[in-house]
Amino acid sequence: MEIDPFIFRLSIFILSIFVGYYVVWSVTPSLHTPLMSVTNAISSVIIVGAIIAALAGSSKEIFSSSSIFGYIAIVLAAVNIFGGFLVTQRMLQMYKKKKDKQK
């Protein structure tokens, strides 16, 4: 009997939880706020689903009920992607060592 592809995805999922667990524990506590904003940005990779939903309308009509939800989701996710990465960048720029400052 063949293995259901779902099992493979589940394996990836579970292993990723472990990777996440160890990677996040190694994050220095002083960077916990940027950690939150960057996880926020990357979870917006959900935009791929939104793009597929939005472009699906092309075969029949541009604005079907499902593609409209896709379009809105694109805007929401895009706000998050740009906002999340840029605000993280802005925060990380502020972290400076003693030596840097005395230039």
């Binding site: 779902f6 995805r9 990836i12 999922f13 990723s16 939880i17 990777v19 996440g20 990677v23 996040v24 190694s26 994050v27 220095t28 506590p29 002083s30 960077l31 916990h32 706020t33 940027p34 950690l35 939150m36 960057v38 996880t39 926020n40 940005a41 990357i42 979870s43 917006s44 990779v45 959900i46 935009i47 791929v48 689903g49 939104a50 793009i51 597929i52 939903a53 092309s58 541009i62 009920s65 499902s66 379009y71 989701a73 694109i74 805007v75 929401l76 996710a77 895009a78 706000v79 998050n80 740009f82 999340g84 990465f85 960048q89 925060m91 720029q93 972290y95 400076k96 060592k97 400052k101």
Partner: protein, 467 residues
Amino acid sequence: MISPNLSAICYLISGILFILALRGLSSPDTSRQGNYFGMSGMLIAIIVTFLSIGSLSTSLIYVLVLLLLGGTIGAFIAFKIPMTAMPELVAGFHSLVGLAAVFVAIAAFLNPEVFNLGFSGKIKLASLIEMSIGAAVGAITFSGSIIAFLKLRGIMSGAPITFLGQHYINLLLGLGIFILIFYLCKTQSANIFWLVIAISFLIGILLIIPIGGADMPVVISMLNSYSGWAAAGIGFTLENTALIITGALVGSSGAILSYIMCKAMNRSFFSVILGGFGADSSSADLKVQKDKKPVKNGNAEDAAFLMKNASSVIIVPGYGMAVAQAQHALREMVDKLKKNDIKISYAIHPVAGRMPGHMNVLLAEANVPYDEVFELEDINNDFANADVAFVIGANDVTNPIAKTDPKSPIFGMPVLDVEKCKSVLFVKRSLSPGYAGVDNELFYRDNTLMLFADAKKMTEDIVKNLD
């Protein structure tokens, strides 16, 4: 159009880049590079998605315009937001992820053919379960984050809202969701799908309203975790590796942060969820009035004198410092002290702020070098050797009662051993207790000098007196 295998590999690559983005945050030096990894991961995922869809028509233009529109709004917010408002911003962003997950799930439900999930009314069973879980968790994340946002922003009172039988209602609604999903699988009825989403919105609201302002760091971390699980749920539906990996990463990251925050407040995760903490401030007032002990009252001149003659000073900032916008004045004070060869370090309690690591960002913004800033366990032994502890805007996290009185609500919470310093300067507006509603014994100690004033005003006055 690229083959499904190639696009799957590309999604895997972007998933790996996201792991590297988090890995970069293990030190400030590598963090910026990590952020670029994250950005490139996102770029790859988006481009691959476009390439994997064969025929691109006029709707592509709409997609790009909307992408640009959202991007512009996001960039604008990112550059404008003050650092003190980071918790609200993150809560707001979580709500967007949640809502996006709901919308993608709805789109998949209405038009399953596009996602290869079967046909409308005959959606594959596994996909149906995955998308309804994704939609439900997304909806909870959305409405919960909105409430958190309103509370943090001060639009809604931070006081917990509780009513009789609250937890049973939540439990019932939660069970209801599972039963409805079960029926959804049997009937494929759109109405049940909408009902699942509607109830989940309600659960999100009910879940967050009983949680008080002091527990907000846990709430934000928890919602962070939820947004991850929602993304993972959608990832399973869309059979997309990048989403599954990201969802798992974000989910566990948020869970760990919630755990760290709970531990820092010595509160169990369940007691935070059940809420109601910080509600009984009236009883705390009574406690304060009960025993009016004498306090030593000082002014800026005394404080300046004490610090000038010290050889090492530890600064203990709290959220009150950020509210008073005193961080820049504080830096000025520290610069003056450093010129007199006084050793300065900052001690940060894990919950000093409104979200994990918030105080570190605020100090970084005020140009405090990060190697002068220490976490609780790294600096707690140094208090005994320091001459002056300068407590500004912090309260509960310095309260020695947490170590001595088992009856105190904050007993067992790790605190900064401020009282071991030769002298303690406490900048505070009044003797009122902090969030936990507990009187701080430190105020009445012999080696404590209270400086009653606004944090910013007092710091500025000290700066003047240091000249």
